[in-house]
């Protein structure tokens, strides 16, 4: 029996005790999957598994606070679940975790750079050595390394970190692989500050302030009460300025420092493809250097910014 079928079986068994189980199904076209909420046994048939399951299923968990739900996870999704549990935003006993080994997911933006219109792909074959697309301008065959999401290229967590049911052969992490995150940050920081700021201004210019980056973030639990849209506190004005837009990105990044599991949903969700993930990644880099800490790995840990050491290991008091 295929791992997916094993999991489907487990889900059917668990469904009666659960509000629903969150997974993925085919979306509006062959290239686009979409989140699936399984409530009835027949829903389970629609569950799919593969490189198109880009959505982080953990994003929905905080919305089910107080209810029992199941969630099918990729390794990276499970990090978000762990972090939610760690922050008591989700009770471990309230969530049943179904895991499968994940080889990676595609970054549709990268795919888009190889086809004229992502919305005109009529067939997809992801079973082979390459990703094969049927488009108006003909067959396209894309090398996986060109379309994997960045996080997958350096993924250390192909398998659910915690799970109640896991099916399939765990995949070992590829060590010493490319780390596009580090490369991107290095490239950005190589710029002169003013140029880098201009880079962000140029990028934020097209931001429409839809807050998809925030609402797709599994760790953004303030949601309806985010300080970006209140008058009290009044952190942000309604001005359509790059300053306000960049400020929000910093709010998000700062609030995520030490909590971000780097699922990349913020950037993926951006309808105008602003490369905002770098800001969160940098925060994670800093957190790692300072506190040797990675979010979403240990359900028992406390996020580094909500605790302290009297003698910090890696912070040397500034000698003035």
């Amino acid at each position: 029996m295929q791992p997916l079928d094993v999991i489907k079986e487990k889900i059917r068994e668990a469904l009666p005790g659960l509000d629903c189980v969150i997974g993925w199904q085919r979306g509006f076209d062959p290239l686009h999957a979409t989140p699936l909420f399984m409530r009835k046994p027949e829903d389970v048939d629609r569950l799919i598994w593969g490189p198109l399951n880009i959505y982080n299923t953990a994003t929905y968990l905080s919305g089910f606070r107080g209810k029992k739900v199941g969630v099918v996870v990729k390794g990276c999704d499970s990090r978000s679940v762990v972090q939610l549990i760690q922050e008591k935003l989700v009770k471990r006993e309230d969530v049943v975790i179904f895991g499968l080994p994940c080889a990676g997911v595609v970054d549709l933006t990268k795919v888009g750079r190889n086809v004229t219109d992502l919305g005109r792909v009529s067939a997809v074959d992801h079973s082979g050595e390459t990703l094969k697309l049927t488009t108006p301008e003909g067959e396209k065959s894309l090398a996986w390394d060109d379309v994997w999401a960045d996080k997958c290229l350096s993924c250390q967590y192909h398998n659910a970190i915690i799970s109640d049911h896991f099916a399939g052969e765990p995949i070992a992490p590829v060590l010493g692989g490319r780390d596009p995150a580090a490369e991107e940050i290095a490239a950005l920081e190589a710029m002169a500050p003013a140029d880098l700021l201009a880079y962000w201004a140029e990028a934020m210019k097209r931001c429409i302030r839809c807050y998809a980056c925030r609402n797709s973030c599994p760790m953004c639990v303030c949601r309806d009460f985010c300080i970006a849209q209140t008058r009290d506190p009044h952190w942000q004005s309604q001005e359509d300025s790059v300053k306000e837009k960049l400020m929000f990105q910093m709010i998000h990044a700062t609030h995520l420092a030490g909590r971000c599991t780097e699922c990349g949903e913020c950037q993926r969700a951006c309808p105008v493809d602003i490369p905002i993930l770098a800001l969160r990644r940098k925060a994670n880099q800093v957190i790692k250097e300072l506190f040797d800490y990675q979010a979403g790995v240990d359900p028992q840990a406390v996020p580094p910014l909500f605790t302290f050491k009297v003698e910090e290991d890696n912070i040397n008091e500034r000698g003035w």
Partner: protein, 652 residues
């Protein structure tokens, strides 16, 4: 909202480098400012009256005073606006003296800066709201830390004032440094004769609970309601049974223990009572020397003790006390004279500290009051006193004057002559500091009646020559080198903050200076208060003092405590955190980070929400930063207020 701005000249203190009239004119153009003027002395009665009148006449509902630091006069002006009929929290201050006029001479820049500070004060005030303090009950008990003369005085005055006192002393007897002294200047009366009775009063006072051989482990809570944990160190003697008969001391086979009370002159039995007049008079075993502990067998004291008080299995014990105020009177310790290698202190047996000399002079000391020098027990004929050893010397990071050395040296010179009429004393000094009633007269007597030779100059080095000690120094008045062959050299070791002072300060949440002395809240006007409400200072813990000053401060601190406790209830500062229940998502992060446990989670219509315990909240604002959706806001330091200040400063 109508705001009045009052820009203070502070005489010429501010006006000298700030155009206060211009600042007032500029302030006129700030939002909500309905009135602005410059005043000569805003804190003076006419100054405060002009504020009150303006509030009434112009119908102001908020006041900005631009003058000195709010740490100085915020309470003053709060009372003023209250007298004017406003809520006392509708006041903001702009610090244009300490932060502007006193630190720069450029009048244009200062005026400009002052206007900016007024601007942010106005922007903050525009977002202030009237606050009313909550009142809460007081635990009318005080803890005095340190059983020296300052602590004893504070404890007795408080107890006589009718409140319960918990006195915590680190060593096994109260009395402190004074109990080690032979005589006291300038009256040359017997130290233990005047201190003894006070010590007895302490143990006999029904309102005083004494914890000797104990230390403060932990303190939590806030003014009026502190919870303290006190560690009673294991003495291995059940004090409830010990009668202080002293039999164990005689029979103890190990006599090599350090004699702390005698400043290490000679040794003491491993089980010991420091001195005959000790209070409480109870024995303590020094486990480091007791054979029962080292070899695991002996038990002599246990055998001889008539009351069976010995208990080798005793452990440290933690006792908890509830108190409303603290008096810190932890005193001082001596500068380590061995830091002056050229003097040979610690290497040469006959180069001793002034306090050791006190023990040699004392009838209850190791030599029974006969001056015998440590090396060979001979009676010294030539005694050299060296001043300022660890005082007024940057090279050993002790730039301050210890204050009392000049006086006790004069006293010791006099006592030396009394004990050994054919002796000659020399005193090497920098300056003679004898400001005090009968003090200068006293030093003169040392010179004129007792013939002590005062040599103005520093000692360069001391070295042995035969059985003598050559003291080489300069006589700066004669402009000559000078050498004295001494039998005994007494170094006037300076005072430094008692060991462990910084650690205690951290427990008490009070500040301390770079030398470890506790910081008073104002050097002149609030000398025994600290910036932590309910914590007071007495004696040398705050800085070197002599006995009368220490006793005076002990009484002063007691007066502060009695004043505090005379209130029916205390009022808590209403500038504390508030939770907006609709915004709170109940993630509980504020609960984790609050240092005071002032936030707890409650169930609100089935939702977890944070709640602030108003009397416990100290208003630090850590929670406000922790809360990602800004649901917890610190009153008068809300996000919007600070953002408004930032906005105002970023307009240019």
């Amino acid at each position: 909202m109508k705001i009045g701005v009052f820009v203070c000249h502070c005489g010429s203190n501010i006006e000298g480098t700030v155009d206060t009239a211009a600042v007032a004119r500029t302030a006129m153009d700030f939002p909500s400012v309905a009135y602005a003027e410059d005043v000569m002395y805003s804190c003076s009665e006419p100054g405060q009256d002009s504020i009150i009148n303006a509030v009434r006449e112009k119908g102001l509902d908020g006041v900005v005073v631009a003058s000195c630091t709010p740490r100085m006069h915020e309470p003053t002006f709060r009372r003023a606006v209250e007298r004017a009929g406003l809520n006392r929290y509708m006041l903001e201050m702009a610090n244009i003296r300490e932060h502007v006029s006193w630190i720069g001479k450029d009048r244009e820049a200062n005026t400009n800066k002052a206007a900016d500070l007024v601007r942010i004060a106005v922007e903050k005030l525009r977002r202030n709201r009237p606050l009313t303090p909550k009142s809460f009950d007081i635990t009318r008990r005080v803890m005095v830390i340190g059983g020296g003369v300052a602590g004893i005085q504070a404890a007795l005055d408080c107890a006589d004032g009718g409140i319960e006192v918990v006195l915590v002393e680190k060593t096994s007897s109260i009395g402190g440094k004074m109990s080690k002294l032979d005589k006291t200047f300038p009256t040359v009366d017997c130290s233990s004769c005047i201190l003894g009775p006070k010590m007895v009063d302490v143990v006999q006072h029904p309102k005083i609970t004494l914890y000797a051989y104990a230390e403060v482990e932990e303190i939590s809570g806030y003014v009026g309601n502190f919870d303290v944990k006190i560690r009673k160190k294991a003495s291995y003697v059940d004090w409830s049974k010990c009668t202080g008969c002293g039999l164990c001391l005689e029979k103890c086979p190990s006599k090599k223990s350090m004699d702390y009370f005698n400043e290490g002159l000679g040794t003491a039995p491993a089980i010991n009572i420091p001195f005959p007049q000790a209070i409480p008079k109870k024995a303590v075993i020094d486990a480091g020397f007791c054979r029962q502990f080292i070899k695991g067998k002996c038990g002599v004291c246990a055998k001889v003790c008539p009351s069976g008080a010995i208990d080798y299995s005793q452990q440290d014990e933690i006792v908890e006390e509830k108190i409303g105020a603290v008096v810190a009177a932890t005193g001082y310790d001596l500068f380590d004279i061995s830091k002056y290698g050229e003097y040979g202190g610690g290497r040469y047996p006959d180069v001793i500290t002034s306090l050791q000399y006190e023990r040699l002079l004392s009838a209850s000391g190791p030599t029974g009051g006969h001056i015998k020098r440590p090396s060979d027990g001979k009676e010294p004929k030539t005694v050299v006193f060296v001043q300022c050893v660890g005082s007024r010397d940057k090279s050993v990071d002790r730039p301050y004057c210890s204050g009392f050395c000049c006086m006790y040296t004069a006293k010791q010179a006099i006592l030396t002559k009394d004990h050994i009429p054919d002796s000659q004393s020399y005193v090497f000094y920098m300056d003679i500091r004898a400001p005090g009633k009968l003090y200068d007269e006293f030093t003169r007597r040392a010179m004129e009646e007792y013939g002590a030779r005062y040599v103005r100059g520093r000692v360069a080095m001391i070295y042995p020559k035969g059985d003598k000690w050559v003291v080489r120094g300069a006589d700066t008045l004669m402009g000559t080198q000078m050498e004295v062959e001494a039998d005994l050299v007494v170094l006037a070791a300076g005072a430094e903050a008692a060991v462990g002072s910084p650690q205690l300060a951290e427990k008490l949440r009070i500040s301390y200076d770079k030398y470890g002395y506790f910081m008073e809240s104002h050097p002149k006007l609030r000398p025994v208060e600290t910036n932590t409400a309910g914590v007071y200072l007495a004696g040398c813990a705050q800085g070197p003092k002599d006995i009368p000053q220490s006793v005076g401060q002990g009484s002063a601190a007691a007066a502060k405590v009695l004043g505090l406790f005379s209130k029916e209830k205390l009022e808590s500062d209403p500038q504390i955190s508030q939770v907006n229940l609709t915004r709170c998502v109940g993630c509980g992060k504020c609960e984790i980070t609050c240092p005071f446990g002032a936030i707890h989670m409650i169930d609100f219509r089935g939702q977890p929400k944070a709640e602030v315990i108003e009397t416990v909240c100290q208003g630090c604002g850590i929670c406000t930063v922790t809360c990602p959706q800004g649901a917890v806001q610190l009153e008068h330091f809300t996000d919007n207020q600070i953002l408004a200040e930032v906005e105002a400063l970023c307009q240019f």
